[in-house]
Every structure is written in C-alpha cells, then in structure tokens.
C-alpha cells in the first residue's frame, strides 16, 4: 500500500508540478512544470526518485500535510522552517515523517517557491503526459485546497543521493542573460540599450505565467499590431505599458506583443526565486 497525504494547510498557492507537458504547444497547451526545475530535480534525487517525479511547488507561505503512512520527504528550493508535529527538522535533506504526524513547510526566509518532494512522487493522474498544474489553461490538478488528499507513488529502489546538497541561495539581485529576440527590430534603437543597462525590479504582479518587472518602459519603433506568433519559454515580451515580462512555464503558446529578447532557460530557476522588489538586470549572454 502506498501513502496518502492530507492537505491540512494549502498555503497561498501550492501546486503539483513535474517536468511539464512537451509537444502540445501547437494545440495551445503551455509547457507548465516546476518553475525552479533544478530544485525539483535535486529534491527528487535526494529521495531516489526519478528526476521528474511530481512534487509540490509552494508559494511564499509553504503548506502543511499529514501522511497516513510513514513517508520520506525533502523540502528544498526557497529556504524555510520545516517542522514535524511542531519539532524543527532539517530543510534541504531527507526527513522521515511518521504516519499521522503533521509536516509543516513554513514561510520562506528568502526566495519564493519551496519544493516539497516525497519518496515515490505525488501520484495524481497525469494529463497529456504530465501531472503539472497549468494555471493559465487549467490543465492538470487544481491548486491544493485544505482537505485535499494526494496519492503518493511507490518509492523507488535506487539509493538516495548521499551527502549535503548544493542548494543555491535565492538571488539578492537577478541577472538574466539574454539574446536579442525575434522582434528586437520592432523597438526603438534606445530600447535594447535601456533593457541592457537599466535596473528593473520584480513586480508584485508576477506569477507562474510571467515575471513582470517595474522600471523604464521600452519604446517601440513599429507601432502596429503584431499578428499572433509562437512564444518561447524565457521570451521577454513587451506589452503596451513598455515594461518587460519574462515568460515562465505557464506562458501562453502564442501571443501578440513583440519579444525584444530571450532569457536562457538555465537562468529561469533564479527568476522563479526572485522575490517582489528584487533588482533585475538583463545582460547579453
């Protein structure tokens, strides 16, 4: 028999995430998946899970769960206090949670998203090959609510990764390497210079769809409407207010605002952990 997790406190926004859905963008299906994918994979490796086993992605305030059987978990990504029945336990390394005990993943001390992985993975039914919750289109499991019960898969036999895990610290300043995007020529010559020299800040309107920024607006050279075109993960799209938006995993598959630059995918993990107000710089790279 495998364990079940009862959600005692869902937190501000907790979703099931894995590596996401590939190959369906032409049908309007976003990629979705864990925003800090390296954190998800490291948490899974520490438990002997496959790298892309489904985990829980929390937002700022964590979550609390009660397993009906003993489970082994790792909370990683954004650092936070973790307790079992009120007693502090380790963050970032495997923790055994007895049957019926209350596992509480607390409010982050830095960063945004803590990943809670469980040995065996979160075993909700996949949709189009993924268990990820896609908040743009509503595919996959809905965000957790208090009282939900989550199935856990059978733990694997491969040994867990030993030793201390190298969890990167959330960024005090987010530096995003970019290459010019497909519509860089839709902007005034000064716009790319502004993008590459100004300091932006993470906007409170950021979410799983995009990292929104506050800072100097980027002026367009071509003012017409852009016919809808495919959008990549990491696209720096510029809506009419001129403030760049970095597309994260739940981004729409097609869009009608020009993309001035594209952020390399490896940098998006740090973007997922950049709290509201964090300075953001874009650098050619």
């Amino acid at each position: 028999m495998t364990a079940k997790l009862t959600v005692v406190r869902a937190g501000a926004l907790t979703t099931v995430q894995d590596a996401g859905r590939r190959g369906h963008a032409h049908l309007g299906v976003p990629r979705s998946g864990a925003l800090d994918a390296p954190a998800m994979r490291l948490a899974n490796r520490l438990l002997g899970n496959g790298p892309d086993a489904a985990v829980l992605e929390t937002t700022l305030t964590g979550c609390a769960l009660r397993p009906d059987r003993p489970v082994t978990v790792v909370a990683g990504g954004a650092p936070c206090p973790v307790t079992v029945d009120g007693r502090p336990v380790a963050w970032g390394t495997p923790v055994r949670v007895p049957a019926g005990a209350l596992l509480d993943v607390g409010t982050v001390s830095a960063g945004v998203r803590t990943y809670l992985a469980v040995a065996g993975g979160v075993a909700v039914d996949p949709v189009l090959g993924s268990r990820s919750a896609d908040l743009l289109s509503g595919l996959g499991p809905a965000p957790l609510r208090d009282g939900d019960v989550l199935p856990v898969g059978a733990p694997g036999r491969q040994p867990a990764l030993p030793g201390a895990a190298p969890w990167p610290a959330p960024p005090a300043e987010l530096v995003l390497p970019v290459r010019p995007g497909p519509r860089a020529d839709w902007f005034a010559p000064a716009a790319l210079r502004t993008l590459l020299s100004a300091t932006y800040r993470v906007s409170p309107h950021s979410n799983r769809i995009g990292l929104r920024t506050e800072g100097p607006p980027l002026a367009r050279a071509v003012t017409g409407e852009l016919p809808s075109e495919g959008m990549v993960l990491g696209a720096v799209q510029v809506p009419p207010d001129g403030r760049p938006v970095v597309f994260l995993h739940d981004h729409p598959t097609t869009g009608g605002y020009p993309v001035i630059a594209v952020v390399g995918e490896p940098a998006l993990a740090a973007a997922a952990q950049a709290a509201v107000g964090t300075p953001v710089r874009f650098a050619l790279g």
Binding site: H26, L27, G28, V127, P182, G230, V259
Partner: protein, 218 residues
C-alpha cells in the same frame, strides 16, 4: 518558395527559430511542409512546431543556425485547396451578435448564417486556450472587429468571429469575439481521451453545417 521572397528566419533564443512568411497562405504551406518532412524523418528533431498568423515557431531545436541555413534552401510547394482532412462543425446560428454581424455585412441574419456556412475554413493556428483554433477562410469584406467591450463569459461551443478569424470556444472563458452561433455539443473540441486532444488542429479544414432549431440539418 514559389515566389522569390526568402524566408525571414529570426532568432528566438538558443534552441528556437521564428520563421516569418509573407502571408497566411504561405505560412500554412510552410507548416504543412514541416509536418511532411517530420513525418518522413528528414527534419532534425524539433520539439514544438507552433504556427502563428504569419510565422512558424520551431522550438526545441538542437542547432538552430544549421536548421536556419537548411530552411532557406527548401522549395515549398503551395498548399492545394483540398489538402488536409475536413472536420464538420454543426452550428445553430443563434448567437447574440448575429444581427449585428449581419448588419455589418448588409444582409439578413438568415443570409449571414448561410454565408458563414458556405465557406471552407482552415485552422491557421491555435492559442488563447487549449483547443482554440483560429480559422481562416472568411473573405476580407466579411471581416468584423472585436466587440468594444469583451464579455466576461462566453459559453463553450460559441461560434465566433473577430478580424479575419472564425473560432469555436472549446470551453467557457471571457472573450471579445462576435458570437454568431452555437455548436450544440462542444465536447469533441477538446477530448483528452482522444489521440490528439484538440479537434481543430493546425492545417485541418473546417466546414460549418447549419442546424435547424429542431436539431436537423437546414
């Protein structure tokens, strides 16, 4: 290409290319050629082939520069009008904006319905929501603007017009398109039990079949 205008291949990050074409027709032909070559095994691995209105995005490409050089050497045949399988969408022309659209077209609502159902459309691209296809095929003089104020809720199955496009809403969402009719059972538009969940996939042709209020064909 059959005319001499080259493809405009634009960078889209380390693993993607955005290919821009002169018009919707050649975009469709280029997309069809990509799918043919992928099926034949002569296209390098590409994770996503995402058509847009005038573009095709190739994402998840190992060597975008090498692929870009190959693309410019392709001879892409125009797409035959009867290329692609046909999907029939039953419609009751009972939408709240039918009278307004008919007035814009200068005809009666009944004539507007018959006219909309008289064309064969093609799915140009998807977006907005899973299974939401943008259908081209309406002649230019029948293009209508979006509504000035979007509706907070458009019901699933709504048959709608905006600009050059027709569409059928696969699910209830907010929307700013002009609603001219209803697909009585919209469930087939997005069916996760099917091999391909979307019914209206890029490249498919679409015919709207008018239903009488009693449910039969008009």
């Amino acid at each position: 290409m059959t005319d001499s205008r080259p493809l405009d291949v634009r960078p889209a990050g380390r693993h993607a290319l955005l290919v821009e074409l002169p018009d919707a027709e050649r975009t469709g032909a280029f997309h069809a050629e990509l799918l043919r070559r992928r099926a034949a095994g002569t296209l390098p691995p590409v994770e996503e082939i995402v058509p847009g209105a005038r573009t095709v995005l190739l994402d998840g490409v190992g060597d975008p520069e090498a692929l870009a050089r190959r693309l410019t050497e392709w001879d892409v045949p125009p797409r035959a009008a009867d290329d692609g399988d046909v999907v029939e969408i039953p419609v009751r022309y009972d939408g709240p904006d039918l009278a307004e659209v008919a007035a814009l077209w200068g005809v009666t609502p009944e004539e507007a319905a018959a006219r909309h159902a008289s064309y064969t459309y093609r799915v140009a691209f998807c977006g907005f929501a899973p299974g939401f296809g943008y259908l081209t095929g309406l002649p230019g003089e029948l293009h209508v603007p979006r509504r000035a104020t979007p509706r907070t809720r458009v019901p699933a199955g709504a048959v709608a017009l905006a600009g050059p496009y027709s569409a059928v809403y696969p699910r209830s969402t907010p929307g700013g398109w002009q609603l001219i009719g209803t697909m009585p059972d919209p469930a087939p538009l997005w069916d996760l039990a099917r091999e391909e969940a979307a019914l209206l996939t890029p490249g498919r042709r679409v015919r709207f079949v008018e239903q009488t209020p009693a449910g039969g064909a008009a």
